[in-house]
Amino acid sequence: MDQKLKKELFSAFEAPKPVKKDAFLRTHRRREMGNLRWLLTQVGYIRWYIWLGSVGVFLLMLILGRAAEPRDFWTVTSLTPLLALLAVSEGSRSRRHGMDELELACRMPVGAAVLARMTALGLFDLVLLGAAAPVLGSWAGRRTLEAGVYLLTPYLLTAALDMELSRRFRGTVGLMYSAAAAGAVYALGIWIPGDRLYRAEALPLWWGALVLTLAAVVFETYKTVERREILQWS
């Protein structure tokens, strides 16, 4: 079309100003954020000292592993429950602080937000454990995979126990029980002699325990997300 004609048409037929635009837009409730962007926003609400605490536990494992006597070496794996406790505590925060009712009435599914945060922390912990496994394994003269099983199993056991306890007990009580469960798993790793717990013949049992604790974590995660969607009425 001729540019001059186009320009003249535009000036002759000016579009009318919008009327009740806000009211109209309110009737069309499109999401303002895509799913992925929204989930990343929720991960941003994990407290900074949770990340720092996780890195601290990782460094402590390496420091203690370096300094430990050979027969006590694998007791460093007893620190992994602390990582699990930090991750699970983020999932139960809203109930502890009385924010759950407000969150449940919001548009976006709160269960998804909780899952995003716990998954982010869980993946971060896996990276830390994945980094620790070859280092600790080489210091102890064991394969990386074997070291990984020793690190991951108490972590998953604690995570499953803590999620169950956080669901059953509200507020600070739930957090205290979760901390006690983490302490119990830690104590178990210290109490059972290392030469019995970490001998080569026991490895198949460790693999079995890993599979069971992984299944428990999947189950508990599902129940935690499901429970978060509806307020527990008491």
């Binding site: 009211a23 409730r29 926003t41 009385g98 009435a105 307020l231």
Partner: protein, 233 residues
């Protein structure tokens, strides 16, 4: 716009706390009065989808309470609510705005606007734990309005507010009530008697009164006391 409630029931250990309620709400202020234990909060929690009913259904313009679209249109102020201890007033609103699906830019503008409206603009960057009870309540009102709700449910919203703040709140609600379904639960008769177009009175899980309300009537307190005696909080 219409909120339809059919056969809504909540039982706890076989005791009905909300007992087979059916009603419709339209844009305007709807007052909900009742003594402690009448079932008001339980009813409100079910209307907000935070509590699963034993039976019955709730829908807003045909959209079920369990759906995201329903919650997109909902603003809710619970009777009691908490906050994360590290949050400032602005942080609190931005966090809830993210859960309401608002973009960051829109959330910031809206939060600033609402903080100004409720008189907390100066306190926006201060931690909520330094707020007075009245300030926390005003912050709660602000978060309920973040998403320009079409359905606003407020449970004892004027608790902790001084008389001047209560008047300001009533004026705000009166403005909203033109395009929004507002359900306001309170023990304070004066909060509703001059602004509500409809009055619901609840006792033992049922409505004992559900009628249009003429703002010139002055017998609401009398009716309330007649029903509940000296049980007002």
């Amino acid at each position: 716009m219409e909120l339809i409630v059919r056969g809504l029931t909540k039982r706890y250990q076989n005791r009905p706390v909300v007992n087979n309620l059916s009603f419709r709400l339209y844009p305007g202020i709807n007052g909900l009065l009742g003594a402690n234990g009448a079932g008001k909060t339980t009813l409100m929690q079910m209307l907000c989808g935070v509590l699963r009913p034993t039976a019955g259904s709730v829908s807003l313009d045909g959209v079920d309470v369990a759906s995201e679209d329903y919650r997109a249109a909902l603003g809710y102020l619970p009777q009691n609510f908490g906050y994360y201890p590290e949050f400032t007033g602005m942080d609190f609103l931005l966090y809830l705005a993210s859960l309401k699906g608002l973009s960051k830019g829109h959330a910031k503008r809206r939060a600033a606007e609402l903080l100004e409206m409720v008189g907390l603009a100066d306190m926006a960057k201060k931690r909520i734990k330094t707020y007075s009870g009245g300030m926390k309540q005003r912050l709660g009102i602000a978060q309920a309005l973040l998403n320009d709700p079409r359905l606003l449910i407020v449970d004892e919203p004027t608790a902790g507010l001084d008389p001047k703040e209560r008047v300001r709140f009533r004026k705000l609600l009166a403005q909203l009530g033109q395009d929004t379904i507002v359900l306001l639960s309170t023990h304070i008769v004066s909060d509703v008697e001059h602004i509500a177009g409809r009055m619901l009175m609840m006792s033992s899980g049922r409505f004992i009164m559900d009628e249009p309300w003429d703002k010139t009537r002055t017998d609401l307190e009398h009716l309330f006391l007649e029903e509940f005696g000296g049980m007002e909080e």
